[in-house]
Symmetry: C2
Subunit: 649 residues, 2 copies
């Protein structure tokens, strides 16, 4: 019978956001709103009130926000996180006898019941609240003690209503059993625009092996299109043993460059640079030059080895030996991947292995890298990533880890929970209106909203999805517009996308003549309809705060199944974007799109200015439902900026 | 870096059943199955295996059950609880390299790959498994070491498959972070049949105030109808001050008996007996006589006082004083309930109040009561109930608390979580096919399945639902059949139900001339169509294990919206009941009902014997879809016992 707070009658349950019942922190980025909800209830008809408590972890004082009851005993309160680091929050609630009394008082007066006794009770509550000199309360007490009719009238004023609201009577409060954690990361975790290219194909002179210096020469082009992350596949020495040839053939011909993901040779391993790309000095120069153009260089982390990686001889204990003494290569029986040796994470020396792999990450951070794209994280132990990312975060702020976890949903989720900053998603295969709508609603309104930051890619060097195969420009533009507006993090495998590479290995979602196994010649000087649209889209993302969040989406009704429409708006409605995309690449589509009146706080008389940020056309809409028409050969999407007419705000 | 089990690569999440992430135990009753599910996954393509661990809390050894992977990384294992008390369970999982090897071996052989090295690996695993002398493993090793072709053929035998299954290679296992708890109660918590009557109306001689002796005389009637709980409204002295009269009138006329829920007078309080009902000796005699007929007497717990309750003068500190010195009566402004004083649970003497109220419960347990129906538990603090029920459970086994929590869903749920054994439900207002189906699916498949035991009541003295008002016999029979077959716990407010009392206070769901405020005259000798059907239904419940669980329901397709059909079956299919109810009380309805072939393990050739337990008619069904027809004036429901023909089992 110890420790029971017997007078506390309120129960608080199911406080959100909470990831795996508090095992992991929820994630936000600087400037984001945190909506805290809780189930709060007590016994009987007494009025309850509740506060959200929050603070930076290292702050001494808790800040308080009023929570409001919604339907079904659910309560809500919100705050904004404004600094990097760890925030804490919890919820407190109590039976408010003052508010209960006030509500009963009004009902009794309405029913013409004598309330003399109730006035005395009101005075009692006001005196309890008057712990310090307070002119408002003193005046209220005097009013209630005065003439009966005047006192009753006074209690019914809005002044008194606001007094009741301002002076909660906090007694016997219940504090939620746990303090929950939110980790707040820098803005780029939530808003980034990625471009991927193979540096060996970066030469302006098509025949030659590209270098970091060539990449530096491409920076103005990439920056002018509006990208702020440039991701290069592995830049390390490529294995020479069992090297793969063109189109993934088992044996490379002499002179073939091999796959950059077959890491390591006699020239070095994960901390070395492939000599044909340049030197460490060149790479650091690239990072520096990119930074000047507001671009971060993202490094690929692929924790696996070519057979001739130095680790194989220096640390044979990190690999699995077969009965004949050979080292176990990667396989998915009966397929063999003899150019790749996976680490054996069950080695007795797992701790040394973990420390070494972490040192690969910190080595590159020390060279200036702040963003890592992690290759196939789901083929290495989840506990390893949890440890490694936490260790890196302790030492270095603002590092981004993008998980290339194209795998089953629960594993993808788990990697996000345990620390990955962003993740590739199933967007690559969500094509029709229903698929896109359901997927977005799952990401934005499902439990993963609190830990999973999506990064949308219409293509990657590994994936030429079926819907892009043997298709013309329009579908590429449609998928780009969707990626760039649905998600605040998105990226493209650039040259293949810009120049509409649409030829697959027959029957597969893979590129024919894949750049993974050969040097490609790209016409880096060329611009086209795609590069223009990329530039416009990324410019719109930069200039419109509403496009810098994935979480603010609201789908709009539009009665054509080939048209998808969604609104993105900042909380204060200072920036509103309406996107309408024609999902049918070859036919003009039209329909009426419904403005979400509630979200836009529109009354019955509507007057909004609509400006297409791509075509620069202007409209004025005065109806809830508005006609749109999209000819994909002209432009398969609208990107409307919406301005609410002043008088209706 | 301490305490990391670096070689354990498996992640276990979301283990169920789990109530409020383990804050409360899950509930089961003796003989029930516990289905444990978990999300289990690791990195890469290695095969995982998992075990469910469970034991009685005081047992020393954990028992193990194999879990099996289902879709989307969800795993499942089950066990039966066979004893009262606390069980513990958890989940363990590991990467099974032996099974991974075996799967790869088969694929390689199928692809005609040489597997000499793989055979050596197989021998290695078999030797690792051979920690003790084991003839099966020794023989397997010899086989693998022998002739290549024979060895390969041997690995492909079902013998070897079963060896792999029987010998898990458990290495570096992951144990789920928590041990979870299940409380197992006695069978009656899950299967009980309630009859409610006002003992003051129990007289066979209609004019007189009924007594416990009269109730004893009614026991054979109640027992013959098949009830095993007889619930009496409060049996304590009724307040004389501000006593309510007929039809809830504010002032009773002289001689009016008042409401039994206005407890306490100068004659005593919650531990006393209303003298007109008899003595404590009579009450204990009633309990004893009832027990002989397999009936438990349920006591009403209503923690509130009439103004003349002894507590009011003995413990004024347990009530709220108003500024004029009067005691605060119950109110829901502007309504006043001046015959009831609620306890002030925020009194400084809350602990003394709690202890006294608990002593009321234990006092009656000491008199022989084992079942309590708790009046309006949601108007007393939830933490009080949590404490009181836990305290009682420590001292006394097998006490049932039925919560009359006709309140909002989260409060209803909370009371069940914190300890109430059973609860009244919204069944009373779930009438049409969709409402019933959705509600049952919520109860049986939603999270509340693990803590909320429903008790279905078609009526109570407080509730004559609209659909029963001014209606004839058929709707009463329909609602009875639904309550008795959907839920394993159900009850009726007996005399009003048997004799089709259908007259409300106009516009309200309340009885006119309610028995709450007056003594009623019932013709206790009368039997009718209803009493016959009650007898048949309760007999069927007693004789059919399938009807003794709420959790085994499966709705069956039937293409008529006025017909609802559901199957209930024991896990082993030794008892199967199919219920079809015509929800339209005045018209004959027909349709084809689909047998759930999967659940019944029926092949393409169907041959089942169907016997209506009410009409005793027999059928043989040889189709998946079978014609049924229900004339409500004959019988508005079928209660089929189904026997699967031997040869198709």
């Amino acid at each position: 019978m110890i420790k029971i707070k017997g007078k506390s009658r309120v129960v608080i349950e199911n406080v959100q956001p909470q990831v795996e019942h508090g095992l992991y922190p929820a994630k936000r980025t600087i400037g984001e709103r945190v909506d805290v909800t809780a189930d709060i209830f007590g016994d009987g008809h007494d009025h309850l009130r509740a506060s959200l408590l929050y603070k930076k972890a290292n702050a001494t004082r808790w800040l308080k926000v009023e929570m409001k009851g919604e339907i079904n005993d659910s309560w809500r309160g919100s705050f904004y996180v404004t600094e990097r680091g760890q925030y804490l929050f919890s919820v407190t609630a109590w039976v408010d006898h003052f508010e209960t009394w006030y509500d009963g008082f009004k009902k009794k007066v309405a029913a013409k019941v004598d309330v003399r006794l109730e006035l005395l009770e009101g005075i009692y509550f006001l005196k309890v609240l008057s712990t310090e000199q307070d002119e408002i309360l003193s005046k209220a007490i005097r009013n209630l003690e005065g003439d009966y009719d005047k006192a009753v009238a006074y209690v019914l004023t809005t002044d008194f209503a606001s007094l009741v609201h301002t002076y909660p009577l906090i007694e016997h409060e219940t504090l939620y059993e746990k303090t929950l954690e939110i980790v707040v990361e820098h803005e780029k975790a939530n808003f980034s625009t990625w471009y991927e290219l193979f540096p060996r194909s970066a030469s302006l002179d098509g025949g030659k092996h590209g270098t970091f210096k060539d990449v530096i020469r491409l920076l103005p082009r990439i920056a002018s299109m509006g990208f702020d992350v440039l991701y290069l596949p592995p830049i390390h020495p490529i294995g020479k043993v069992n090297r793969k040839g063109k189109n993934n053939s088992v044996n490379a011909k002499p002179g073939e460059p091999g796959s950059p993901w077959a890491i390591g040779s006699d020239e070095g391993g994960h901390k070395s640079i492939h000599s044909e790309l340049g030197t460490l000095v060149d790479y650091k120069k690239l990072i520096e030059e990119a930074k000047k153009q507001n671009i971060d260089i993202a490094l690929d982390i692929a924790f696996q080895c070519a057979p001739d990686h130095p680790y194989v001889t220096e640390h044979p204990e990190w690999f699995k030996q077969r009965p004949d003494g050979s080292i176990q290569y990667a396989e998915n029986p009966p397929k063999k991947y003899q150019d790749i040796y996976p680490f054996n994470f069950e080695t007795d020396d797992w701790m040394e292995l973990w420390v070494e792999l972490k040192s690969v990450i910190t080595y590159w951070i020390d060279q200036g890298v702040k963003i890592f794209r992690v290759d196939n994280p789901h083929t290495k132990p989840i506990p390893f990533w949890q440890w490694a990312i936490a260790e890196v975060n302790l030492e270095y702020p603002d590092i981004i880890f993008l998980a290339e976890a194209f795998t089953r949903p629960k594993i993808m989720s788990s990697l996000a929970k345990i620390g990955f900053t962003q993740s590739y998603t199933y967007f690559t295969w969500r094509v029709n209106k229903q698929e896109i709508t359901e997927y977005m609603n799952e990401l934005v309104s499902g439990p993963s909203r609190n830990y999973f930051r999506p990064n949308f890619w219409p293509n990657t060097p590994d994936i030429l999805p079926y819907h892009l195969q043997h298709q013309g420009e329009n579908i590429f533009i449609i998928r780009l517009a969707l990626a760039a507006t649905l998600a605040s993090n998105y990226g493209i495998y650039g040259p293949a996308y810009e120049f509409y590479d649409n030829v697959p290995v027959t029957g597969r979602e893979e590129y024919f003549d894949s750049e993974k196994y050969e040097i490609k010649r790209h016409d880096w000087k060329k611009t086209n309809r795609m590069t223009d649209i990329i530039t416009l889209l990324n410019g719109a993302r930069k200039n419109n705060d509403a496009l810098q969040s994935t979480w603010n989406i609201q789908f709009c009704a539009i009665e054509n199944p080939n048209l998808i429409a969604f609104l993105k708006a900042t909380d204060d409605l200072s920036n509103i974007v309406l996107v309408v995309v024609n999902l049918e690449p070859n036919e003009r589509q039209s329909g009426f799109v419904q403005l979400p009146k509630d979200r836009l706080k529109l009354g019955d008389r509507i007057n909004v200015k609509v400006r297409d940020l791509i075509t620069e056309e202007n409209y004025t809409w005065t109806q809830e439902w508005n006609y749109v028409e999209l000819d994909p050969y002209k432009m398969p999407f609208h990107l409307f900026n919406i301005e609410l007419h002043e008088s209706y705000m």
